[in-house]
Subunit: 310 residues, 2 copies
């Protein structure tokens, strides 16, 4: 079985940006990406895998650079026509982007696994890295908020992540299996990297698939995590807000604590240098570097800095 230089655990936009740098620093064929699928949703009857698509589009070089998600220069004519028909159109679906969802949905109906479809899509879009869903089984994040339990995309997109999060659960996770190849890739990789993604709703679901956290623990010295919290704020998305409502201090150190059983190297931003000693007290090596990926230069520099440590 093929072995990879780097296995990455990935959420959406933040992960995609880091992986864009990583695959320019090492051979993209040597990168194996495990994508979160707990924020997958059925919208207009289509199976949407937002995180897989964001990573795929980014590595295919067709991502919308402004949003990070969606396809560059896409139009929204179908969505406008759906709105005219009275459909709910709070979830943005571009015309080109729709093709991915149509293709995926039909292939799944035909009996293909999500991993197989993902491989077909990435191959067609000439992505040279391997992208696999965390599981072929259906796992769905349910967000428990003050206003009740919400489907992830309802919480995240429709309600703009405004609700106070009190807990989350990953429906289907305990019966799910890692997609074929994941455990082997983790066992054999030279390095494993947790991208700077939300620990609760991006990395958390991947860790909730039985077997994955244990596999990472066995490789702890070779596992690095990049903090998605910089200076007490999330680089992207609701991670900091979630930490607060979950009664955690939003800080890089608290993220490190969540990962302490399986992460050996924790990467903090320069502004969080003061946390380095505390992180080391968790038995991790702390690496301080610039983690804010404003441009391609920063993405590559961060990837190099992390790779160097593993």
């Amino acid at each position: 079985m093929k072995s990879y230089q780097v296995v990455a655990l990935a959420g959406g936009v933040g992960a995609a940006r880091f992986l864009d740098g990583l695959t320019r620093v090492i051979a993209p064929e040597r990168v194996y990406i495990i994508g979160n699928t707990a924020d997958d949703a059925e919208i207009h009857g289509l199976h949407i895998s937002p995180d897989l698509d964001t990573v795929t589009y980014t590595l295919a070089g067709i991502a919308n650079p402004e949003h990070g998600w969606g396809i560059r220069g896409d139009s929204f004519r179908c969505l406008e026509a759906l709105r005219r028909l009275g459909a709910d159109t709070w979830f943005q679906l571009g015309d080109k982007d729709l093709a991915t969802h149509l293709y995926r949905t039909q292939r799944l109906h035909q009996g293909a696994t999500l991993a197989e479809v993902t491989a077909e899509i990435t191959r067609a879009l000439k992505v040279r890295s391997t992208i696999v869903p965390m599981s072929n089984e259906r796992v769905r994040a349910r967000i428990c908020t003050a206003s009740g339990e919400l489907e992830f995309q309802t919480y995240f997109v429709k309600r703009h992540a405004r609700d106070r999060v009190v807990a989350m659960r990953f429906e289907g996770a305990s019966e799910a299996e890692p997609a074929p190849g994941i455990l082997n890739a983790i066992a054999k990789a030279e390095a494993i990297i947790l991208c700077p993604s939300n620990p609760f709703i991006s990395i958390g679901p991947i860790l909730s698939i039985p077997g994955i956290r244990g596999a990472l623990r066995r490789r702890r010295d070779h596992v690095a995590a990049i903090s998605p919290i910089v200076g007490g704020r999330a680089l992207k998305g609701p991670a900091a807000k979630m930490m607060k409502s979950l009664k955690l201090t939003p800080s890089a150190f608290e993220v490190a604590r969540l990962y302490q059983d399986f992460v050996g190297v924790f990467v903090l931003d320069e502004v969080d240098r003061k946390h380095a000693v505390k992180v080391q007290s968790l038995g991790m090596r702390a690496v301080v570097t610039n983690t804010i990926m404003s441009g391609l230069g920063e993405r590559k520099a961060l990837a190099k800095a992390v790779i160097r440590e593993l």
Copy 2:
């Protein structure tokens, strides 16, 4: 129950053009259109109803005037992206058009009937006439050709209607029921009109639904058919070619013969005036007028000429 002035049996583009004229000559609310659904297809996992959509888009004033089908000014970005993913893209699906198919497919999955969905779509697009599918049940035209049996859209679109047709069958028709309201509308209408559509693959499937042909027979004096064959050629589509391969002379008279048990008034084009006497020998009234609908004026004139006779 509501009664209608005119009930029309309709295929695709030819029917839509005639109905465009008809609904400008009488109140559109008084027109009840029974649409062929035997050429419906599942494409990219979507339920496509080409004839219902062609009539709907035309009456909504949004049809592509050049092709007759599809939406004016539509783009094909999703289709191009599907092609990039390796999907079969011989069936043209515009970005705006896709919304109709997505909406329909999802509503059907949710348990709505095709008639209900069609009513929702036409209402949203502000179509004032009633458009109903011939049946809520699945009926599919299978075209038996020298190269074997083909699905209708494969024969018609993918293979450009080039195969020699030796027979056709309408899978599911014998177990299907007319959509609710159809038999009552036929029983009570002042006039019933067969649009100038293909007798084999557009009108034929509607007649194949148990109960419809009998209901028309009981109204024979009030049923008019407009010949889709003019001067031995089809106005649109493969009707004339099909007649030949089915060992029939492609002529207006031969179409009249197919309908003689339930049509009382047969409308022929000026160029087929010579057939009028033979048509009358079938016990039909022959009406000779211009049936070529080059523009809106002709569409309206034809509608007026037919209405006047019923």
